[in-house]
């Protein structure tokens, strides 16, 4: 929904508007001229490698860092230079930042208490918030007595109880193990749908970004490379960086692209779109084929990754589901000479 309203949205549906946002630490440029509109109720992910500026952008929205230049608007109001306690946003920190000297209940009540909400209402809303993250009955515990996943949910309840317009999440799942992380991804998305609050989520994990987001902003070296839905970012990467960072980098370029596609340019093909066939197989007209030798076979359980060295130079990665083949089958294919085929519509040209 958000993608359609990206440009030319009216002010009252924009939760966050960033214009020319810039942040330097000494001579290091952390964030360089970022423009971004985040719609009301949207789940937007800031995706990028560490040091790409995504966390700094989040911290500037929260008010922990002052921008060197540029504008931050929350619901149409310029908050660029307001302290954190005067902004209607709440943050879930990477280390959860629970107050160790307070009980879980008091942690969740903290935001209401400092705003002067009465004791009874405070208590009631905190209990509700703990229920919404499935932690009823844990109020009397200290944070240190909770597991990582539980602390994560306390941090979420502590932020949501204030009913902020925007919730900022700074790699909140980074410290959890894989199983718990996948479970929390689904839970977070469900909570966001229930409360209808705008979520701005920072992660370096592209799978996480693809799973949860309405839209993704891909960061590199302090700049936004592309903003789009998960499908757009994955299937239609705007730059080489996006093609490489989101999913596996599989590029044809220069002489290789001239030999295979017939045009000197940069083309991205997703590994799962490529099929491996016998050398003498017929070539359909809407397909493109190229011959090569399997140089490496990486068995990953449910699928196998093949690195194929092309006869014309360069290499491509092919991903194949192990639905009918055993591990012995696929490992035996190493060094065979085969043909790679993909539909022409699956090769996507990147203009640099």
């Amino acid at each position: 929904m958000a993608a359609a309203t990206l440009d030319g949205v009216s002010v009252d549906t924009v939760a966050i508007r960033l214009r020319g946002l810039r942040k330097t630490f000494g001579s290091v440029v952390a964030v360089d001229d970022v423009d971004l509109d985040i719609a009301d109720g949207e789940f937007l992910t800031l995706l990028g490698p560490s040091g790409s500026g995504k966390t700094t952008v989040l911290r500037m929205i929260a008010g922990f860092e002052l921008p060197t230049a540029g504008l931050i608007e929350l619901a149409g109001v310029d908050v660029s230079h307001l302290p954190p306690f005067q902004r209607d946003v709440n943050t879930v920190f990477q280390d959860y930042a629970l107050f160790p000297h307070l009980s879980v209940q008091d942690n969740v009540e903290y935001g209401l208490k400092v705003k002067g909400v009465g004791k009874d209402e405070r208590r009631r809303r905190a209990v509700e918030a703990l229920e919404s993250v499935r932690l009823e009955g844990y109020g009397a515990r200290k944070p240190i007595e909770m597991s990582g996943g539980q602390r994560q949910r306390v941090a979420l309840a502590r932020a949501l109880v204030n009913r902020p317009k925007v919730l900022l999440l700074d790699e909140p799942l980074g410290a959890l193990d894989l199983k718990l992380r996948e479970q929390m991804q689904i839970e977070l998305k469900a909570i966001q749908r229930d409360v209808g609050i705008t979520f701005v989520f920072v992660t370096h994990d592209q799978e996480e970004a693809l799973t949860m987001s309405d839209r993704i902003a891909v960061f590199n070296a302090g700049r936004i490379e592309q903003v789009g839905t998960p499908a757009q970012v994955y299937e239609r990467p705007a730059t080489e960086f996006v093609a490489g960072f989101v999913g596996t980098s599989n590029l044809l370029r220069g002489d290789v692209s001239t030999a295979v596609v017939g045009v000197d340019g940069v083309f991205s093909i997703r590994p799962e779109k490529i099929r491996m066939v016998e050398l003498d197989s017929a070539i359909a007209t809407d397909h493109r084929c190229v011959d090569g030798t399997i140089a490496e076979v990486i068995y990953v359980g449910d699928a196998t990754r093949f690195v194929v060295r092309l006869d014309v130079g360069g290499s491509l990665v092919v991903l194949q589901q192990n639905s009918t083949s055993s591990s012995a089958d696929v490992l035996a294919t190493c060094d065979t000479h085969i043909r790679l085929c993909w539909r022409k519509e699956d090769e996507y040209r990147i203009y640099t």
Binding site: A62, G63, F64, P83, P84, F85, V89, N90, T91, F93, Q94, D95, A97, F99, P100, H101, Y110, G111, V114, K115, R158, A159, N162
Partner: protein, 303 residues
């Protein structure tokens, strides 16, 4: 392995030291004894031994005629101390000085330690600040004492600085003693408070502000309860060091006396070791009471 000629010698020498190591590894009690025998000997003989002698001596007396020790248990020293009005006055004054010195150091140390631990981003500058705070510890006690004297003495540096404003400094006396002791013990407050603040993750302070707390609410609600043990540690230093000091007050205190002067004079001037030993009970009791009071607040439960 590669050079077989050197192998026998190295494995032999390694074998000897590693057999001692593995023997100790299998006998953890022996290992503990090896670690602790020297410090325990030091502690028991020199520290606890002398302390016991002193505490026992408090129940002896001296022959008023010859001045010789009479080693018969008596409470007469405590009777003298508890009934002598001058002892009460000096004890309460000393207590007051210790409280004021501690408060002054707290007020100075908290912003100083906060700046070093949380505001300064450059690690170099942070270490430079911490080293600067400890700098007064490098100079000798007496040097600092006489430096303070030149500050507070009549027509001294402070008077000279205040003269253009038409004011005059406090001169030598009680105020000069308090300020000088606060200056002297400040590093002992700053260092634990700095260490305490450094252990508070910055994200906790950010989270507090993020949840709507103003700076003073964050200070009272998050920072203060978390650094409380460090404040207690620092205050034990400033408090007990002040209770035990008798030199600074002689240099800058004018005619003011502190409790440690009573101990010193009973021992050194009056040659009354038992009375000095009994008087030494006062600071010990005060510190024990202080620790019990702190424990009652529950502030140390999170340690």
């Amino acid at each position: 392995m590669v050079a077989p000629t050197t192998q026998p010698t190295t494995s032999a020498s390694r074998g000897r030291s590693s057999s001692v190591s593995s023997y100790l590894y299998r006998h953890p009690r022996l290992r503990l004894a090896g670690l602790l025998s020297a410090p325990m000997l030091w502690l028991v003989v020199l520290y606890l031994g002398s302390l016991t002698i002193m505490l026992v001596a408090a129940f002896w007396s001296t022959d008023s005629f010859t001045g010789a020790l009479v080693k018969k248990p008596t409470l007469s020293n405590f009777h003298t101390l508890l009934t002598g009005q001058v002892y009460w006055v000096v004890a309460l004054r000393t207590l007051g000085i210790a409280v004021l010195v501690t408060l002054i150091d707290l007020v100075l140390a908290i912003p100083l330690a906060f700046t070093a631990a949380k505001v300064v981003r450059s690690r170099r500058l942070r270490y430079a600040l911490v080293i600067a705070v400890t700098m007064p510890l490098w100079a000798g006690y007496l040097v600092k004492g006489y430096a303070m004297q030149t500050m507070f003495i009549n027509n001294g540096v402070i008077d000279w600085m205040l003269a253009p404003l038409g004011l005059k400094g406090p001169g030598l006396g009680l105020a000069a003693t308090i300020f000088s002791l606060a200056y002297l013990w400040l590093p002992y407050m700053v260092l634990p408070v700095y260490a305490g603040m450094e252990r508070v993750p910055s994200s906790l302070l950010e989270a507090s502000g993020d949840l709507g707390a103003s700076t003073s609410q964050t200070f009272r609600g998050v920072l203060l309860p978390m650094i409380f043990p460090a404040l207690i540690a620092g205050s034990i230093f400033t408090f007990s060091l002040t209770l035990g000091d008798y030199i600074m007050v002689k240099i800058v205190g004018g005619t003011t006396q502190m409790f440690a002067n009573i101990i010193y004079d009973s021992f050194g001037v009056a040659n009354n070791l038992p009375l000095a030993a009994a008087a030494a009970f006062f600071p010990i009791i005060v510190i024990i009471c202080y620790l019990l009071a702190v424990r009652r607040t529950g502030a140390l439960d999170n340690l």
